[in-house]
Symmetry: C2
Subunit: 116 residues, 2 copies
């Protein structure tokens, strides 16, 4: 079962996990960030890549920008091209992203095995 954590440790972890989930929780934020890890992308590219509605994407991008994960870049190239790009700060999430990804793979395997 793993070792029990003492109460202080546990409560402090609970608090920080709360903070984290507040900032990057929800259905889309981490997925958008993951998608942008491949490359900067335009609005419609992101939409297609993630299967997200324009409404939600618009909202989430604003939020991500406000929180310093994503930058909106306007290239004055006639016609104007708008691209979304990850900031340096978004890199601080890679540990989380990697852990989630690894766990997701393992979990999927487990589920499939159990179905048989």
């Amino acid at each position: 079962m793993g070792e029990l954590l003492d109460k202080k440790t546990c409560e402090s972890k609970l608090g920080s996990i709360d903070d984290a989930l507040y900032a990057i929780g929800g259905k889309w934020k981490l997925k958008i960030i993951m998608a942008l890890k491949e490359n900067t992308k335009r609005f419609n590219e992101l939409q297609r890549a993630l299967g997200i509605s324009a409404r939600m994407l618009s909202r989430e991008l604003k939020d991500l920008e406000l929180n310093g994960f994503v930058e909106r870049k306007i290239e004055h190239d006639t016609p104007v091209v708008i691209e979304y790009e990850l900031t340096e700060y978004s890199n601080s999430l890679s540990e989380i992203l990697d852990a989630l990804s690894r766990w997701g793979i393992a979990h999927r395997k487990k589920i499939i095995k159990e179905r048989q």
Copy 2:
């Protein structure tokens, strides 16, 4: 900005993160698991510790049990005591929990610093 990931890698990661979020996403699951890391807890204990409504807690616990993260233990001790306990499998989440916790702490610091 960190290195870009190639498209295949990125899409596969997106998929597995999706899987992970499907299983442990949402407002409460990870918090409940974190709370139980301190010790097995009874229904009302969990409620107080997390500030969650009975309705939600009931639902989430069922879901967590169904997915093998939590076990409902009935102690026939007259009066009967019901406790919720983490399973061995829930340990596979510790990497994620730790990463989230660490990031949450750092993020909070950043926010506070920016406010000044």
